[in-house]
Protein backbone atom coordinates (compact mmCIF):
# COMPACT_ATOMS: atom_id res chain seq x y z
CA UNK A 1 0.00 0.00 0.00
CA UNK A 2 1.44 3.42 -0.99
CA UNK A 3 1.30 6.40 1.32
CA UNK A 4 0.08 9.60 -0.37
CA UNK A 5 2.50 11.95 1.45
CA UNK A 6 5.58 10.29 0.02
CA UNK A 7 8.33 12.84 -1.00
CA UNK A 8 6.25 15.70 0.25
CA UNK A 9 9.20 17.34 2.04
CA UNK A 10 11.20 17.31 -1.20
CA UNK A 11 8.37 19.05 -3.00
CA UNK A 12 7.95 21.61 -0.23
CA UNK A 13 11.72 22.27 -0.21
CA UNK A 14 11.79 22.76 -3.96
CA UNK A 15 8.79 25.06 -3.83
CA UNK A 16 10.38 27.10 -1.05
CA UNK A 17 13.67 27.38 -2.96
CA UNK A 18 11.78 28.45 -6.06
CA UNK A 19 9.77 30.98 -4.07
CA UNK A 20 12.83 32.47 -2.41
CA UNK A 21 14.68 32.70 -5.73
CA UNK A 22 11.76 34.31 -7.54
CA UNK A 23 11.14 36.84 -4.77
CA UNK A 24 14.85 37.69 -4.48
CA UNK A 25 15.08 38.06 -8.25
CA UNK A 26 12.01 40.30 -8.23
CA UNK A 27 13.48 42.51 -5.50
CA UNK A 28 16.80 42.87 -7.31
CA UNK A 29 15.03 43.51 -10.62
CA UNK A 30 12.87 46.18 -8.96
CA UNK A 31 15.98 47.77 -7.48
CA UNK A 32 17.67 47.84 -10.89
CA UNK A 33 14.67 49.42 -12.57
CA UNK A 34 14.28 52.09 -9.90
CA UNK A 35 17.88 53.01 -9.14
CA UNK A 36 19.54 52.74 -12.51
CA UNK A 37 19.63 56.45 -13.39
CA UNK A 38 21.22 57.13 -10.01
CA UNK A 39 23.00 60.48 -9.67
CA UNK A 40 25.76 60.70 -7.15
CA UNK A 41 26.46 63.94 -5.36
CA UNK A 42 29.00 65.87 -7.48
CA UNK A 43 32.50 66.32 -6.10
CA UNK A 44 33.25 70.01 -6.25
CA UNK A 45 35.17 72.62 -4.26
CA UNK A 46 33.17 75.70 -3.37
CA UNK A 47 34.64 78.61 -1.44
CA UNK A 48 32.11 80.75 0.44
CA UNK A 49 32.94 84.13 1.98
CA UNK A 50 31.35 87.35 3.17
CA UNK A 51 32.67 90.79 2.31
CA UNK A 52 31.05 94.20 2.13
CA UNK A 53 27.49 92.91 2.61
CA UNK A 54 27.91 90.38 -0.19
CA UNK A 55 28.09 86.62 0.03
CA UNK A 56 30.49 85.24 -2.57
CA UNK A 57 30.53 81.60 -3.62
CA UNK A 58 33.37 80.62 -5.93
CA UNK A 59 33.74 77.39 -7.89
CA UNK A 60 37.28 76.22 -7.04
CA UNK A 61 37.53 73.12 -9.20
CA UNK A 62 35.88 69.76 -9.62
CA UNK A 63 32.67 68.93 -11.46
CA UNK A 64 30.78 71.65 -13.24
CA UNK A 65 27.34 72.39 -11.81
CA UNK A 66 24.05 73.22 -13.48
CA UNK A 67 22.80 76.77 -13.37
CA UNK A 68 19.69 75.68 -11.49
CA UNK A 69 21.84 74.65 -8.52
CA UNK A 70 20.05 76.04 -5.50
CA UNK A 71 21.55 78.20 -2.73
CA UNK A 72 19.80 78.49 0.61
CA UNK A 73 20.97 81.28 2.89
CA UNK A 74 19.72 81.34 6.46
CA UNK A 75 20.06 84.56 8.44
CA UNK A 76 19.05 84.36 12.10
CA UNK A 77 16.78 81.41 11.31
CA UNK A 78 15.09 82.99 8.29
CA UNK A 79 15.84 81.26 5.00
CA UNK A 80 15.96 82.65 1.49
CA UNK A 81 16.87 80.70 -1.60
CA UNK A 82 17.87 81.43 -5.17
CA UNK A 83 19.32 79.72 -8.22
CA UNK A 84 22.93 80.11 -9.31
CA UNK A 85 21.65 81.41 -12.64
CA UNK A 86 20.11 84.47 -10.94
CA UNK A 87 23.40 85.87 -9.64
CA UNK A 88 26.01 84.63 -12.09
CA UNK A 89 27.39 87.19 -14.55
CA UNK A 90 26.40 86.94 -18.21
CA UNK A 91 29.77 85.66 -19.38
CA UNK A 92 29.64 82.80 -16.89
CA UNK A 93 26.06 81.93 -17.83
CA UNK A 94 27.00 81.62 -21.48
CA UNK A 95 28.08 77.95 -21.45
CA UNK A 96 25.13 76.91 -19.32
CA UNK A 97 27.32 75.59 -16.51
CA UNK A 98 28.87 76.87 -13.33
CA UNK A 99 32.56 76.23 -13.94
CA UNK A 100 35.92 76.68 -12.28
CA UNK A 101 36.81 80.26 -11.35
CA UNK A 102 33.25 81.57 -11.73
CA UNK A 103 31.72 83.44 -8.81
CA UNK A 104 28.21 84.00 -7.54
CA UNK A 105 27.88 87.27 -5.67
CA UNK A 106 24.69 87.63 -3.63
CA UNK A 107 23.92 91.02 -2.07
CA UNK A 108 22.76 89.96 1.35
CA UNK A 109 22.46 93.37 3.01
CA UNK A 110 23.52 94.30 6.50
CA UNK A 111 24.27 91.13 8.45
CA UNK A 112 26.27 92.63 11.28
CA UNK A 113 25.97 90.47 14.41
CA UNK A 114 23.67 88.02 12.66
CA UNK A 115 24.08 84.30 12.34
CA UNK A 116 24.51 83.35 8.69
CA UNK A 117 24.65 79.87 7.23
CA UNK A 118 24.61 78.66 3.65
CA UNK A 119 23.75 75.44 1.84
CA UNK A 120 24.29 74.53 -1.80
CA UNK A 121 21.87 71.96 -3.22
CA UNK A 122 22.52 70.06 -6.44
CA UNK A 123 19.25 69.49 -8.29
CA UNK A 124 20.37 66.44 -10.29
CA UNK A 125 21.30 64.34 -7.31
CA UNK A 126 19.02 66.20 -4.90
CA UNK A 127 21.91 66.36 -2.46
CA UNK A 128 23.63 68.96 -0.31
CA UNK A 129 27.04 69.77 -1.78
CA UNK A 130 28.16 72.30 0.80
CA UNK A 131 26.84 73.41 4.16
CA UNK A 132 28.76 76.14 5.98
CA UNK A 133 28.30 78.56 8.87
CA UNK A 134 29.58 81.81 7.44
CA UNK A 135 29.07 83.92 10.54
CA UNK A 136 28.29 82.94 14.11
Amino acid sequence: MKRVDKAVSESVGTLLLLGITISLFSVIYFCVITIYPINASPTVNLLCSISENNITIEHRGGKTLDLDTKIIITINGTSQDFRIYDYLDNESRYNGKWNIGEQVVYPVGDITNKKVSLSVIDGNSNSVITMVNLQE
Binding site: T14, L15, L17, L18, T21, I22, L24, F25, I28, Y29, C31, V32, I35, Y36, I38, A40, T43, R60, G61, G62, K63, T64, N95, K97, N99, I100, G101, E102
Partner: protein, 274 residues
Protein backbone atom coordinates in the same frame (compact mmCIF):
# COMPACT_ATOMS: atom_id res chain seq x y z
CA UNK B 1 9.98 -8.89 -11.37
CA UNK B 2 10.92 -6.10 -13.72
CA UNK B 3 9.87 -2.67 -12.47
CA UNK B 4 9.65 -0.11 -15.22
CA UNK B 5 10.21 3.44 -14.12
CA UNK B 6 8.49 6.02 -16.20
CA UNK B 7 10.44 9.29 -16.53
CA UNK B 8 8.09 12.20 -16.94
CA UNK B 9 9.38 15.08 -19.16
CA UNK B 10 8.85 17.74 -16.45
CA UNK B 11 11.07 15.98 -13.94
CA UNK B 12 13.94 18.25 -12.83
CA UNK B 13 12.31 21.33 -14.32
CA UNK B 14 12.22 23.14 -11.00
CA UNK B 15 15.95 22.60 -10.48
CA UNK B 16 16.71 24.01 -13.92
CA UNK B 17 14.50 27.05 -13.35
CA UNK B 18 16.11 27.71 -9.97
CA UNK B 19 19.60 27.41 -11.47
CA UNK B 20 18.73 29.77 -14.31
CA UNK B 21 17.25 32.29 -11.90
CA UNK B 22 20.26 32.13 -9.57
CA UNK B 23 22.62 32.64 -12.50
CA UNK B 24 20.38 35.50 -13.59
CA UNK B 25 20.61 37.01 -10.13
CA UNK B 26 24.39 36.85 -10.13
CA UNK B 27 24.51 38.43 -13.60
CA UNK B 28 22.12 41.20 -12.58
CA UNK B 29 24.01 42.00 -9.38
CA UNK B 30 27.33 42.03 -11.21
CA UNK B 31 25.79 44.22 -13.90
CA UNK B 32 24.50 46.71 -11.35
CA UNK B 33 27.86 46.89 -9.64
CA UNK B 34 29.81 47.28 -12.88
CA UNK B 35 27.57 49.84 -14.52
CA UNK B 36 26.29 51.89 -11.60
CA UNK B 37 28.44 51.56 -8.52
CA UNK B 38 31.94 50.91 -9.87
CA UNK B 39 32.01 54.16 -11.93
CA UNK B 40 30.85 56.06 -8.85
CA UNK B 41 33.47 54.45 -6.65
CA UNK B 42 36.16 55.17 -9.22
CA UNK B 43 35.07 58.78 -9.65
CA UNK B 44 35.18 59.31 -5.91
CA UNK B 45 38.56 57.59 -5.73
CA UNK B 46 39.93 59.87 -8.45
CA UNK B 47 38.46 62.95 -6.75
CA UNK B 48 40.11 61.90 -3.46
CA UNK B 49 43.40 61.51 -5.32
CA UNK B 50 43.05 65.03 -6.67
CA UNK B 51 42.66 66.30 -3.09
CA UNK B 52 45.86 64.49 -2.14
CA UNK B 53 47.73 66.02 -5.08
CA UNK B 54 46.33 69.44 -4.19
CA UNK B 55 47.80 69.08 -0.69
CA UNK B 56 51.10 67.77 -2.05
CA UNK B 57 51.41 70.71 -4.44
CA UNK B 58 50.69 73.12 -1.57
CA UNK B 59 53.64 71.51 0.24
CA UNK B 60 55.71 71.79 -2.93
CA UNK B 61 55.05 75.53 -3.17
CA UNK B 62 55.73 75.92 0.53
CA UNK B 63 59.12 74.21 0.12
CA UNK B 64 60.08 76.26 -2.93
CA UNK B 65 59.07 79.48 -1.17
CA UNK B 66 61.14 78.48 1.87
CA UNK B 67 64.22 77.84 -0.24
CA UNK B 68 63.74 81.18 -1.96
CA UNK B 69 63.33 83.03 1.34
CA UNK B 70 66.29 81.57 3.24
CA UNK B 71 68.67 81.98 0.26
CA UNK B 72 71.04 79.32 1.51
CA UNK B 73 72.48 76.27 -0.17
CA UNK B 74 69.89 73.82 1.09
CA UNK B 75 67.72 71.09 -0.33
CA UNK B 76 64.20 69.82 0.41
CA UNK B 77 62.36 66.79 -0.92
CA UNK B 78 58.61 66.57 -1.39
CA UNK B 79 56.46 63.83 -2.87
CA UNK B 80 53.76 63.69 -5.53
CA UNK B 81 51.46 60.69 -5.96
CA UNK B 82 50.78 59.80 -9.56
CA UNK B 83 47.76 57.73 -10.55
CA UNK B 84 45.18 55.81 -8.56
CA UNK B 85 45.19 52.12 -7.76
CA UNK B 86 42.51 49.77 -9.05
CA UNK B 87 39.61 48.75 -6.83
CA UNK B 88 39.77 45.27 -5.33
CA UNK B 89 37.95 42.26 -6.87
CA UNK B 90 36.89 44.12 -10.02
CA UNK B 91 40.48 45.01 -10.83
CA UNK B 92 39.58 48.10 -12.82
CA UNK B 93 40.23 51.80 -12.42
CA UNK B 94 43.99 52.20 -12.34
CA UNK B 95 45.00 55.57 -13.75
CA UNK B 96 48.36 56.96 -14.79
CA UNK B 97 49.45 60.59 -14.44
CA UNK B 98 52.33 62.74 -15.64
CA UNK B 99 54.75 65.00 -13.83
CA UNK B 100 57.02 67.25 -15.90
CA UNK B 101 59.49 70.03 -15.46
CA UNK B 102 59.08 72.30 -18.45
CA UNK B 103 61.90 74.62 -19.37
CA UNK B 104 61.25 78.09 -20.82
CA UNK B 105 57.53 77.60 -20.44
CA UNK B 106 56.64 80.99 -18.98
CA UNK B 107 58.12 84.38 -19.86
CA UNK B 108 58.00 87.45 -17.68
CA UNK B 109 59.04 90.74 -19.19
CA UNK B 110 59.20 93.93 -17.17
CA UNK B 111 60.01 97.16 -18.92
CA UNK B 112 60.23 100.89 -18.48
CA UNK B 113 60.67 103.53 -21.15
CA UNK B 114 64.35 102.72 -21.69
CA UNK B 115 65.07 99.16 -20.54
CA UNK B 116 63.47 95.80 -20.68
CA UNK B 117 64.14 92.77 -18.48
CA UNK B 118 63.05 89.36 -19.74
CA UNK B 119 63.05 86.11 -17.82
CA UNK B 120 62.29 82.76 -19.35
CA UNK B 121 61.17 80.49 -16.54
CA UNK B 122 60.88 76.77 -16.00
CA UNK B 123 57.69 75.38 -14.49
CA UNK B 124 56.48 72.18 -12.80
CA UNK B 125 53.35 70.62 -14.24
CA UNK B 126 51.31 67.69 -12.98
CA UNK B 127 48.60 66.34 -15.31
CA UNK B 128 45.98 63.84 -14.21
CA UNK B 129 44.61 61.38 -16.73
CA UNK B 130 41.39 60.50 -14.94
CA UNK B 131 38.82 58.08 -16.32
CA UNK B 132 35.73 59.43 -14.54
CA UNK B 133 36.54 62.58 -12.57
CA UNK B 134 37.40 65.78 -14.41
CA UNK B 135 41.04 65.94 -15.60
CA UNK B 136 42.97 68.46 -13.57
CA UNK B 137 46.48 69.90 -13.76
CA UNK B 138 48.50 71.57 -11.06
CA UNK B 139 51.15 74.00 -12.23
CA UNK B 140 53.89 75.79 -10.35
CA UNK B 141 54.73 78.77 -12.53
CA UNK B 142 56.97 81.68 -11.51
CA UNK B 143 55.99 81.26 -7.87
CA UNK B 144 52.26 80.89 -8.55
CA UNK B 145 50.37 77.67 -7.89
CA UNK B 146 47.66 77.21 -10.50
CA UNK B 147 44.84 74.69 -10.84
CA UNK B 148 43.77 74.11 -14.43
CA UNK B 149 40.86 72.02 -15.69
CA UNK B 150 38.58 72.07 -18.71
CA UNK B 151 36.72 75.34 -18.61
CA UNK B 152 39.30 77.47 -16.88
CA UNK B 153 41.99 77.89 -14.27
CA UNK B 154 42.36 79.48 -10.87
CA UNK B 155 45.15 80.66 -8.63
CA UNK B 156 45.74 78.45 -5.57
CA UNK B 157 48.86 80.19 -4.31
CA UNK B 158 50.45 83.47 -5.28
CA UNK B 159 54.03 84.67 -5.60
CA UNK B 160 55.37 87.29 -3.22
CA UNK B 161 54.19 90.75 -4.26
CA UNK B 162 54.07 93.74 -1.96
CA UNK B 163 53.91 97.51 -2.16
CA UNK B 164 55.64 99.98 0.10
CA UNK B 165 55.25 103.77 0.11
CA UNK B 166 52.27 103.29 -2.23
CA UNK B 167 54.41 103.04 -5.38
CA UNK B 168 57.43 100.80 -4.67
CA UNK B 169 56.78 97.22 -5.65
CA UNK B 170 58.64 94.10 -4.51
CA UNK B 171 58.05 91.04 -6.65
CA UNK B 172 59.64 87.60 -6.28
CA UNK B 173 59.59 84.97 -9.00
CA UNK B 174 61.04 81.47 -8.98
CA UNK B 175 62.76 79.87 -11.93
CA UNK B 176 62.78 76.06 -11.98
CA UNK B 177 65.74 74.40 -13.65
CA UNK B 178 66.53 70.73 -14.04
CA UNK B 179 68.80 68.18 -15.68
CA UNK B 180 68.12 66.11 -18.75
CA UNK B 181 66.71 62.77 -17.73
CA UNK B 182 65.34 64.18 -14.47
CA UNK B 183 62.53 66.24 -15.88
CA UNK B 184 59.76 63.72 -16.39
CA UNK B 185 57.92 61.01 -14.53
CA UNK B 186 54.80 59.22 -15.61
CA UNK B 187 52.69 56.32 -14.50
CA UNK B 188 51.55 55.12 -11.12
CA UNK B 189 53.31 55.58 -7.78
CA UNK B 190 54.76 58.16 -5.46
CA UNK B 191 57.65 60.15 -6.88
CA UNK B 192 60.01 62.45 -5.01
CA UNK B 193 61.00 65.91 -6.11
CA UNK B 194 64.42 66.92 -4.91
CA UNK B 195 64.70 70.71 -4.75
CA UNK B 196 67.98 72.51 -4.29
CA UNK B 197 68.50 76.25 -3.94
CA UNK B 198 70.93 77.62 -6.50
CA UNK B 199 70.98 81.39 -6.61
CA UNK B 200 69.04 84.64 -6.33
CA UNK B 201 69.42 87.81 -8.34
CA UNK B 202 67.91 91.22 -7.64
CA UNK B 203 66.96 93.80 -10.25
CA UNK B 204 65.82 97.35 -9.65
CA UNK B 205 63.64 98.76 -12.39
CA UNK B 206 62.74 102.41 -12.01
CA UNK B 207 59.52 103.86 -13.41
CA UNK B 208 58.39 100.47 -14.69
CA UNK B 209 55.57 100.68 -17.17
CA UNK B 210 54.77 97.09 -18.23
CA UNK B 211 54.65 93.63 -16.69
CA UNK B 212 54.02 91.15 -19.50
CA UNK B 213 53.49 87.49 -18.70
CA UNK B 214 53.47 84.85 -21.42
CA UNK B 215 51.35 82.06 -19.99
CA UNK B 216 48.62 79.54 -20.75
CA UNK B 217 46.80 80.52 -17.55
CA UNK B 218 45.56 84.04 -18.09
CA UNK B 219 42.70 83.82 -15.61
CA UNK B 220 44.97 82.72 -12.75
CA UNK B 221 47.39 85.61 -13.36
CA UNK B 222 44.48 88.03 -13.70
CA UNK B 223 43.24 86.83 -10.30
CA UNK B 224 46.77 87.35 -8.97
CA UNK B 225 47.06 90.96 -10.10
CA UNK B 226 43.51 91.75 -9.04
CA UNK B 227 44.19 90.22 -5.65
CA UNK B 228 47.42 92.04 -4.90
CA UNK B 229 47.68 95.28 -2.99
CA UNK B 230 48.05 97.08 -6.33
CA UNK B 231 44.47 98.27 -6.08
CA UNK B 232 45.27 100.07 -2.80
CA UNK B 233 48.41 101.71 -4.21
CA UNK B 234 48.75 105.05 -5.94
CA UNK B 235 49.59 103.31 -9.21
CA UNK B 236 47.13 103.42 -12.08
CA UNK B 237 47.13 100.20 -14.04
CA UNK B 238 45.16 98.21 -16.54
CA UNK B 239 45.23 94.44 -17.09
CA UNK B 240 44.86 93.34 -20.71
CA UNK B 241 44.84 90.01 -22.50
CA UNK B 242 47.58 89.60 -25.08
CA UNK B 243 48.03 86.93 -27.76
CA UNK B 244 50.07 84.72 -25.45
CA UNK B 245 49.21 85.86 -21.95
CA UNK B 246 48.42 89.03 -20.07
CA UNK B 247 49.90 92.47 -19.77
CA UNK B 248 49.71 94.92 -16.89
CA UNK B 249 50.22 98.46 -18.10
CA UNK B 250 50.93 101.24 -15.63
CA UNK B 251 50.01 104.81 -16.49
CA UNK B 252 50.24 108.14 -14.75
CA UNK B 253 52.74 108.30 -11.90
CA UNK B 254 55.08 105.34 -12.12
CA UNK B 255 56.74 103.34 -9.37
CA UNK B 256 59.95 101.43 -8.82
CA UNK B 257 60.11 97.68 -8.84
CA UNK B 258 62.56 95.45 -7.00
CA UNK B 259 62.48 92.08 -8.67
CA UNK B 260 63.97 89.00 -7.07
CA UNK B 261 64.55 85.98 -9.28
CA UNK B 262 65.38 82.80 -7.38
CA UNK B 263 66.71 79.81 -9.24
CA UNK B 264 65.93 76.40 -7.80
CA UNK B 265 67.01 73.12 -9.32
CA UNK B 266 64.39 70.37 -9.20
CA UNK B 267 64.89 66.70 -10.04
CA UNK B 268 62.23 64.05 -10.38
CA UNK B 269 62.87 60.38 -9.75
CA UNK B 270 65.71 58.68 -7.89
CA UNK B 271 69.34 58.74 -8.94
CA UNK B 272 70.01 62.38 -8.24
CA UNK B 273 72.57 64.24 -10.30
CA UNK B 274 74.95 66.45 -8.32
Amino acid sequence: MLVRKIIRPEDGLVGIVVTVLIIGLIVVITGILQTVYVPQWLEQKEADHMYIVSYQFAQLKNSLDLLSVIEQKNAISTYITLGTSEIPIFGTGRTYDDLNILTDNCDIKISNDTDSYSFSLGTIRYSAENSYFVDQSYIFEAGALILDQSGGNILNGKPFFSITNFTNVSFTIINISSFEGKKNAGGYGTYSLYMEYMDSNYYTINDFRFINITTDYRNAWRIFFNGTSLKYSLLDYEIKDTDFGISVEFTGSLGNLILKVSEISVQIAPGWIE
